[in-house]
């Protein structure tokens, strides 16, 4: 006796959260059944393995049918085939677009292309995430990217509108899209200690301050704003950053800057002497990073440079985080007292964001 056909269809579509998770994690029906058996569900409910198998199959079929709709979440809300309470719809969408930390670290900043997709095998082996799940996550990134890449307006808002994600998840996706678009390098060994959260934090600051949308001049002249607003860095701003070079190129200015900072921080820093000794190197590093951002290649290496030029030197001298904060605050603020320096606005736009990023990046 074999079951040729076995289905269960409810007027309200039944969604089992546990099975959904297993499905999202890319387990086959048999693996999922085995995992469910291990969870002790049989003992709890008194069901048999056959019942579990049939139940799992049913759910998998439902999810498979829902997947097409999940690719365009607004469709899920308007479709008539599955009657699903709104809370459940939200859960389905949110979970479908959720991603693994380990996975996102692997592809963050990479081009979401076929080439990368081919590497998913390796990523799967490396992270222990099933290939199926990797594909889903990758395809999600790509799908969101494709939809919002050409869109104007707030990146987070666009993502929320088209994918109905929660605010938190939409922000994460904004970071992923932003990184993918600017191809920031995140995979280098010295960047391995950074989490997705660190990058997402930086991305948010950069989107807020360094993109075209950040300037807020769009509404006055919409035609001129052919470029994307949130996804691309403000080219003009990057060009202008060259002007900051004077801070390290002009010897007097550099000395003045150093003395201002040292005066202000004397007695307040545990690592004062190290700071004093390293000031010029650090300042050169930070300003040079800014000056180089005109080249795409250097934009990509932004995080590598920041870690190399600032995080690592400080860390090797065992600066406490609080000292880093005090230093960066004083370092940015002191520039306002440099009479010969005329790019105060530009400096604030640059350093304001960078300070936030550096503080976030500065940890073990």
């Amino acid at each position: 006796m074999t079951n040729e056909l076995d289905i269960f269809v409810g007027n309200t579509t039944l969604i089992d959260e546990d099975v959904y998770r297993l499905w999202l994690d890319g387990y086959s029906v048999n693996d999922a059944v085995a995992l469910r058996v291990r969870s002790g569900i049989l003992e709890q409910t008194g069901a048999t393995a056959a019942v579990l198998q049939s139940d799992t199959m049913d759910h998998y079929r439902t999810f498979h049918m829902l997947e097409r709709l999940l690719h365009a979440p607004p469709k899920l809300l308007h479709q008539l085939i599955f009657q699903i309470p709104p809370s459940r719809q939200a859960l389905l969408i949110e979970r479908y677009y959720a991603f693994d930390e380990a996975f996102v670290r692997e592809v963050l900043g990479k081009k979401l292309s076929k080439g990368t997709k081919k590497d998913l095998d390796d990523i799967s082996t490396k992270t222990g995430i099933t290939l199926k799940s990797c594909r889903r996550q990758f395809d999600n990134f790509k799908r969101v990217f494709k939809v919002v890449e050409e869109m104007r307006g707030s990146l987070v808002d666009n993502i929320q509108q088209h994918f109905l994600l929660s605010d938190r998840l939409a922000r994460d996706y904004a970071a992923i899209v932003f990184f993918a678009n600017n191809r920031f390098e995140t995979g280098k060994k010295k960047l391995q200690y950074l989490s997705f959260g660190d990058f997402a934090f930086c991305a948010e600051l950069m989107i807020q301050n360094w993109t075209l949308g950040a300037v807020g001049e769009a509404p006055t002249d919409p035609d001129s704003q052919v470029d994307d607003m949130d996804v691309d860095l403000d080219k003009e701003f990057l060009q202008d950053l060259k002007e900051l070079k004077v801070l390290v190129a002009d010897k007097d200015l550099l000395d003045l800057h150093k003395s201002l900072v040292c005066t202000a921080l004397r007695g307040k820093l545990g690592v004062f002497s190290e700071m004093e000794a390293n000031f010029k190197n650090l300042s050169r590093g930070l300003v040079n990073v800014a000056a180089k951002l005109t080249h795409n290649k250097d934009v990509r290496d932004l995080f590598v440079d920041l870690v190399e030029k600032f995080v690592e030197p400080c860390r090797s001298d065992h600066w406490p985080l609080n000292d880093v904060r005090l230093f960066l605050n004083q370092y940015s603020a002191s520039v306002h007292s440099l009479d010969g320096f005329r790019h105060q606005g530009l400096w604030d736009r640059y350093m304001g964001t960078l300070r936030g990023c550096l503080l976030r990046l500065y940890h073990d």
Partner: protein, 1064 residues
């Protein structure tokens, strides 16, 4: 020209990509009604076209309005080749034809294609302007309301219940036409869908005409079925109960009418504000037949049953002679009707007096192939247009089928008479077809209906009279209707355990729902008897003979199984009994489902005894006693599980309820012994004997084993196949209707009856287990209206389809957990962007569990009545004279069987604890939380006639839909399961969309009447036909009602008062 149909095509959305090059579609729409077609403009390059068409107007006869469906076809325009069809929508405009139902159909309909399934949606608005037709000889029956619900619909009251209406139409099945060989599967499927839609329309119109002839205005319990007879054609038949219904107006209008609420509370449905009456299944206010109605009724040729809803308890109390007199009166009135049948399963108070037992009849028929010269001629001449006019050469077909059914009905009628009953209630008909053999079945419950409906006198006086009577609550219908000295079959009678005045049988089987006022002890449960019998493959007459020969044995065994299982559960009555016999190529399957209960009025069932074949063999004896112990344990466990603890019983029984093994030697099943028993029945002989099972061969052993294999549902679950679960009355509003289909393949090697039985049993049990597992999140809950359908699509395939609804009921704990869940999800949702998602709002309305409240139990005063063991079931076969003998011998068998059922102990007065109406009412009011409005677009579906926690405010019309789905890429669609899963989901979606377009938010009395699945995995093909029906309604949550309405608190109270009748 009595009608103008107006259609507007607004927009489409989610259309499929029809042009690969542009990834877009150039869609336009054809609107067709009858022979007229309109087209919209082509909306270029869009998957979401906005046609916003003008109003397309069709000027048509109302006859056509009833018969024809509106056909909407969405196409992709193609400049160079033929336009591609995207899909179709069929809209039944019948609901627009009667004034009280929907006035407009407007909404999004799924665009359906028989090959691809749902492909996008289309927004359509449909209106009808009807002109009055003064033509006396009209062929249309616009205005007659149809209800699938098998009780008087809420918000209506029955003025007159006229009785049985039936009709059938026959046609050639397009699938079997010669043209099918050259046309595409899509064209063939669409021809079939359209034809069936047309035939249903025609059938409904014809039934409507009959109703008008009887001066009724509605059909209740309308059941329409298709018989796919293959080459011999397609039969669409329907039965129903003609009624004259009055719409209940607002509660305010009724309140002043009731003179003294305290008195009326229990008696008069009139005083119940409909808002609360609607909650319970069986509330159907009655009386106030107007004078003019009466005269009209007496003038028509078909006698009608006018019933004024008076109490009938007197019949029993007033003793034998009077009872006979009353019966005579009623009989004479009913005799004039051809068939005094009622498809209702629940009745207005006072309607049902006595229940006699189940009556059923079966008949095996050979379907003739059509050898019609006209048909052949047309084929030769290829004048294909003529083929569309099926009726021209099928005209004599309906008569044949009519005659077949008439024969069966006649038989049912005579069975009922034999039981001393003049009417049959809970009546239904079904067929099972395999190749050219067809089994026609009909069954119902023989009953005595209230005789006083024939007495004239004003409603007022009837009402008064009724109020004065002190009715025995909840036992009247159990009292035997037949003369105890002249019983139709031997049965064990005792005095009613409730009123102690009338005789009752020891077991009662019925096809109706449990009367709402019946006194039940404990909870009920689903009881199934399952049986398979192998049959040799044979042709034509030989095949029919073989089947006819098997039928009585199957019925007998099914009956035995039911009886055993009932006793094992410690219960004494079955309700909603449905015995389905399915015929296949090489086997017959029998599946009986019913809900077992313990009726307080009937005696305690005896235990089950096992008698060994060779009592001297020690080991054997041990084995037998082991089995006996297991059975006794099971009975005890079941009694605990279902909370069956009849009061006072324990005091009555002295010693063991089951005689000692030594004493019980084998009981001879002899006629003489039994007849003695019956006559000497006496209150003083309160000794209870047991039901004896003899293990004298392996078959019997199997039986015993199978008894014990049925696993009770996990804790927190109950199941029944009736509308409501006896013993549970605190339903919450969460419901989940579902359909589950399973097909198993039998290994063809050495199939034996035992192996078959085991397979079938496992299939059903596993299916139930799966359901319990799937719905575990709803615990505590009850599966109601569990409806199993068995079919044998191929030699080695068994298909079981189950439709049921899971309803949660209140346990405080359960309520709290759901609430916290909701709160959690609320919190989470509120972090989302509210503007975009609008989750929080919809969420609270949708998933917030509504407060617990007891469904207002209607009392219905039935009179004293007696009833017997269901018997008088028999099978007939045409033209096989030998069969008649077998049949009668089988009846003997049943009689013999009856002897082994001994009477139980007597003299028990069951006092029913009645819940305080006041406290109950208060509880309900107090616990009503302010609830947000229903989510837009949610359509509930339920096989029940009510929605827990809600009041049905309007019936929008009948939903009757037929779909075919076919695929030639079975593997790609996920195999048979993937294919059918998607199709069933699509059918639900289309039903919901139609209901929503009518302005409704639920389907009640939903039923999947057919699910025919065929596969050909080798060709990667499969096909499925599904037929569903139900009543589209508008409901309002009670919690909302209470907030909105300004009803006086007394009104709330009144409605919930009668709830206390059931002991828990």
């Amino acid at each position: 020209m009595p009608g103008k149909l107006k259609v507007k095509i607004v927009a489409g959305r989610h259309l499929p990509v029809m042009d690969r090059a542009s990834d877009l579609t150039d869609a336009f729409v054809e609107v067709k009604f009858g022979n007229t077609t309109f087209k919209t403009d082509v909306y270029l390059k869009s998957l979401n076209p906005q046609w916003n068409s003008e109003w397309f107007k069709f000027e048509v006869d109302d006859e056509d309005l009833q018969d024809e469906p509106l056909q909407i076809t969405v196409l992709d325009h193609d400049t160079y080749s033929a336009n591609d069809a995207i899909g179709k929508v069929y809209i039944d405009i019948d609901p627009l034809l009667y004034s009280e139902a929907a006035t407009v159909i407007s909404g999004w309909f799924p665009i359906y294609d028989t090959i691809h399934g749902i492909r996008g949606e289309i927004n359509v608005v449909v209106k009808v302007d009807l002109f009055n037709d003064l033509n006396r000889f009209r062929q249309s029956s616009c205005g007659v309301k149809f209800f699938c619900t098998t009780s008087i619909p809420k918000c209506y009251r029955a003025v007159i219940i006229h009785g049985f209406v039936e009709e059938l139409v026959v046609n050639e099945d397009p699938e079997y036409q010669w043209i099918d060989r050259i046309r595409t599967p899509r064209a063939s499927n669409e021809a079939r869908q359209r034809l069936i839609s047309l035939m249903s329309g025609e059938l409904q119109r014809k039934i409507g005409l009959k109703v008008l002839e009887m001066r009724g205005n509605a059909v209740v319990g309308y059941l329409q079925c298709f018989d796919l007879e293959g080459e011999s054609g397609l039969v669409v038949r329907a039965i129903g109960t003609a009624c004259t219904l009055d719409k209940l107006s607002s509660p305010a209008a009724f309140l002043p009418a009731c003179n003294s609420p305290s008195k009326d509370m229990k008696e008069s449905p009139l005083v119940h504000p409909p808002s609360h009456g609607c909650r319970s299944t069986h509330n159907s206010p009655i009386h106030t037949a107007t004078g003019s109605r009466l005269t009209q009724n007496f003038s028509v040729s078909v006698p009608t049953l006018i019933y004024t809803g008076m109490g009938s308890g007197s019949a029993g109390k007033e003793g034998g002679p009077f009872k006979a007199l009353l019966r005579q009166q009623t009989q004479s009135a009913l005799e004039q009707r051809e068939f005094p049948f009622f498809t209702l399963t629940a009745f207005p108070p006072g309607f049902l007096v006595h229940v006699g037992g189940v009556v059923s009849a079966r008949s095996v028929k050979l379907l003739d192939r059509i050898h019609n010269p006209a048909f052949v001629g047309i084929m030769g001449n290829t004048r294909s247009y003529k083929l569309l006019d099926w009726n021209s050469f099928n005209s004599d077909e309906p008569e044949t089928r009519d005659a077949w059914w008439a024969e069966i009905r006649q038989e049912i009628k005579s069975h009922a008479k034999a039981l001393g009953c003049h009417a049959v209630v809970g009546y239904s008909e079904s067929t099972s077809i395999c190749e050219e053999v067809c089994i026609l079945s009909a069954s119902g419950t023989a009953a005595v209906l209230n005789p006083r409906f024939l007495q004239d006198g004003t409603v007022e006086s009837c009402l008064e009279q009724r109020l004065e009577e002190n009715l025995p609550a909840g036992c009247g219908f159990c009292h035997i209707p037949y003369d105890e000295l002249n019983m139709p079959f031997p049965a064990h009678l005792t005095y009613c355990y409730n009123c102690r005045k009338q005789k009752v049988p020891d077991v009662l089987f019925t096809t109706i729902d449990l009367p709402i006022d019946a006194t039940v002890i404990g909870k009920g449960c689903l009881i199934q008897a399952r049986l398979c019998r192998l049959k040799k493959k044979a042709q034509a007459e030989a095949n029919a003979t073989a089947i006819s020969n098997l039928l009585p044995f199957m019925e007998y065994e099914v009956h035995t199984q039911l009886m055993n299982k009932l006793k094992l559960k410690g219960m004494n009555a079955l309700f909603g009994l449905r015995i389905q016999i399915t015929v296949g190529e090489n086997m017959l399957m029998g599946l009986a489902s019913a809900t077992g209960v313990y009726l307080a009025a009937l005696p305690t069932p005896g235990g089950i005894q096992i008698a060994g074949k060779t009592p001297n063999d020690g080991s054997y004896e041990q084995h037998v006693s082991h089995m006996q112990k297991k059975i006794n344990d099971t009975i005890a466990k079941n009694k605990e599980l279902y909370e069956i603890n009849p009061p006072e019983i324990s005091e009555e029984i002295i010693g063991s309820p089951i005689p000692e093994p030594r004493q019980r030697s084998r009981l001879l099943r002899s006629q003489s012994e039994s007849s003695d028993e019956v006559t000497e029945l006496d209150l003083s002989h309160g000794k209870k004997d047991a039901f004896v099972l003899e293990i004298d061969d392996t078959d019997a052993m199997e039986d015993v084993h199978s008894l014990l294999t049925d696993v009770p549902p996990p804790s927190g679950f109950y199941s029944c196949n009736t509308e409501i679960m006896p013993g549970i009355n605190n339903w919450t509003s969460e419901i989940q209707m579902f359909t589950s289909v399973r097909v198993i393949r039998l290994s063809s090697l050495n199939l034996t009856n035992q192996a078959l039985n085991k397979n079938f049993n496992d299939l059903c049990e596993n299916l139930l287990k799966s359901l319990y597992f799937k719905l575990r999140s709803m615990i505590p809950c009850c599966l109601c209206h569990v409806n199993f359908t068995v079919s044998l699509p191929e030699d080695e395939l068994i298909q079981v389809t189950v439709t049921a609804v899971a309803i949660t009921f209140d346990k405080n704990q359960a309520l709290q957990t759901t609430k916290t869940q909701v709160e959690k999800s609320l919190q989470r949702a509120s972090t989302d962007n509210e503007e975009l998602l609008q989750f929080p709002l919809e969420l609270c309305s949708d998933s917030l569990p509504s407060h617990p409240f007891p469904p207002a139990k209607e009392h219905l005063e039935s009179a004293s009545s007696n009833s017997g063991i269901p018997a008088a079931q028999r099978a007939t076969s045409v033209d096989y004279s030998s069969f008649a003998d077998r049949c009668s011998s089988w009846i003997e068998l049943i009689k013999l069987k009856a002897q082994t059922i001994r009477r139980g102990s007597i003299k028990t007065t069951v006092t029913v604890e009645k819940a305080s109406p006041m406290s109950e009412g208060n509880f309900r009011n107090r616990s009503a939380p302010p609830c947000a409005n229903s989510t837009v677009g949610v359509v509930k579906m339920t096989p029940l006639s009510f929605i827990p926690g809600a009041k049905i405010t309007k019936y929008l019309g009948i939903i009757n839909m037929f779909f075919i789905r076919e695929t030639t890429s079975l593997r790609e669609e996920g195999g048979v399961s993937g294919f059918l899963h998607a199709f069933v989901a699509e059918v639900f979606a289309m039903v919901r969309a139609h209901v929503a377009a009518l302005g409704g938010n639920a389907v009640v009395s939903y039923i999947m009447k057919q699910c025919v699945f065929m596969e050909n995995p080798n060709k990667n093909q499969a096909q499925c036909l599904i037929n569903v029906s139900g009543d589209a309604v508008v409901f309002v949550r009670e919690s909302e009602l209470e907030v909105v309405s300004s009803q006086p608190p007394t009104a709330n109270c009144q409605s919930s008062c009668p709830g206390g009748d059931v002991t828990t």
